[in-house]
Symmetry: C2
């Protein structure tokens, strides 16, 4: 193991080489590309060392073999998250989480089984003191730029204080990573007026109203794309459904345009001509471009990627882990959570 | 009052002439147009008789003055639903609901205060025996035609048996009104596998699985536009947020295209050229075209419209009330609910 030395920006990132539909190839290509572009990044690859070496040889890459952390087991996409943590202690995912817990790396990156990644990060790395529930956010496109939606599926049946924590963590993420000054926060609800929420959202709104956070009140489903609030908090069940509904919009539009083109030759010509411009406009809806998202609230950097991640997506995930490290996001979350627990 | 006589298709519809942003003008125009197009429809107009008569005179319309039901009061859009039922017993909305309760009309149509309309219908007309909670659905466009989403805001913090009732009522609506044979039903969830829901959706899925309904399991946010199930059930809080998110998509797309056009003259020309074709394709997302939606589960036909309803929308609401009447939707719901209560 190489000592991270005295460079405070040095960041050791352990990458689950077995995670994702095109593992280990896409993982290795993306992770090594990130390392080659930023000398402060030190990549470790966890997984089947033979398969990893095959990719390195085949792709003619250079990589220090000591930084391949052999893992005998692999958590499959269909494995039960909590069961597999117990039955597969030698899996790349579990090994990676333990490296972060043991301070041998600052960050873990994986595009494997999302549930297992969340469970491994939460149970092995542990939660930041004061955090009841870690959260995953989505960066939804909006007319104002980005709407940070928390939670999109780390938890479900959340309590009001969980939504309050999501607001704290989400606004720190929006500020530090998105450059949003004093992010405005809204609670997702059925109407703007008080009383238009469900039991949990109404109670969360009260907690936020009484805090010093920049809370602007209830927001509705339409306010996400309109960008009415920088950070929108909701139960993970609701957020997950909205995220997936939103992800299905571009495909549905393509279908609608095809149907219109079929009906009328003139429409067909016009739609064909404009395809490139449409694609450009819709690029903002393509979540794959963002790489992965961090699980916020755990005691280590944990970046979760799409199963279908490309080498570019893996590179961006590693860069994101690095940025979170250099911006001290975790200690900022810890301090902020501590501050609000003292107040209440 | 005119006797409905022996024609079983005869349908008396009381229309809240004071409901909507352009009342009474749009209401009167639309309702009388519906009546003139279908001799089985007998319209009654509830509201300020002077204002209603002014429209009739100004627009040079013919209408039997005895069918204007004068109402001294008017429920405003911002009035509290439950409070206004008590403080405004002489309002057009309350008068209309009482007419249905007293069998003086088969249906009530209103584009006024939605909460008050739901409360008046539920509390004055009463619920169909066995229905715990009435529900409002949305007809979401999908790649297969229409996805019937229940509930979109009649209730919140629903219990599993409410979702089960939504499935019964929604599938009767899809079959009778949408012509869908044996509609497939999905429960909205975070994933297809069992265990991916929240407490309420998981329990509802069990009830549906044990029933003879055409239940296909959990569906995700992306499955709505893909049309994976004909009927999708969820808590009204979730459905309302998705409906409003979906409604905001066309405006957001317009914004994206404008942004792309701004950046590049060639894109601007192409997008300008194709505007008409795009508008055609997106028309399916324009929910205003549908007119109003029924509150299912109450003991009378109750059609709720958008505040901004046009005369055409009011005409379509009246037609919809008529269609629900001639198809005996209410007794079909009552029989089906009864059948399932006996089984469980």
């Amino acid at each position: 193991m190489i000592d991270s030395g005295s460079n405070p920006n040095q960041c050791r990132i352990i990458v689950d080489a077995m995670g994702g539909d095109f593992a280990p190839k896409n993982v290795v290509l993306g992770a090594l590309q990130a390392q080659s572009e930023n000398p402060n990044i030190e990549v470790y690859l966890a997984g089947d060392s033979k398969l990893i070496l095959d990719v390195i040889t085949y792709e003619n890459l250079t990589f220090d073999k000591e930084k391949i952390i052999h893992a005998e087991q692999k958590i499959e996409m269909n494995d039960s998250p909590t069961v597999s943590l117990k039955t597969k202690p030698a899996s790349s995912l579990v090994v990676g989480a333990k490296w972060v817990r043991d301070k041998k790396a600052e960050a873990l990156v994986s595009a494997g089984n999302t549930g297992a990644m969340m469970a491994a990060s939460t149970l092995i790395m542990g939660r930041i003191p004061g955090v009841g529930r870690p959260t995953i956010g989505a960066e939804m496109p909006s007319a104002k730029g980005i709407c940070y939606l928390y939670d999109v599926g780390a938890g479900k049946d959340a309590k009001p204080n969980h939504l309050f924590e999501y607001a704290i963590m989400g606004s720190i993420f929006a500020r530090e990573m998105g450059g949003v000054k004093n992010p405005s926060i809204g609670v997702l609800s059925m109407g703007e007026e008080e009383g238009k929420g469900n039991d949990v959202s109404e109670e969360a709104a009260k907690l936020l109203k009484d805090s010093k956070l920049n809370f602007i009140g209830n927001v509705e489903g339409r306010d996400i794309l309109e960008g009415k609030a920088d950070v929108v908090v909701c139960d993970g069940f609701v957020g997950n459904i909205i995220l997936k509904f939103g992800e299905s919009v571009p495909k549905f539009l393509k279908y609608l345009l095809q149907q219109t083109a079929k009906k009328n030759l003139f429409d067909k010509l016009k739609i064909g001509l404009t395809r490139g411009s449409l694609r450009k406009a819709l690029k903002v809806l393509d979540y794959q471009e963002y790489g992965g998202v961090p699980l916020l609230g755990v005691n280590g950097i944990s970046i979760i990627g799409h199963g279908s991640s490309t080498p570019k997506a893996f590179k961006n995930m590693v860069f994101r882990a690095y940025e979170i490290h250099t911006k001290n996001l975790l200690s900022k979350i810890e301090n902020s959570i501590k501050q609000y627990s003292n107040l209440s």
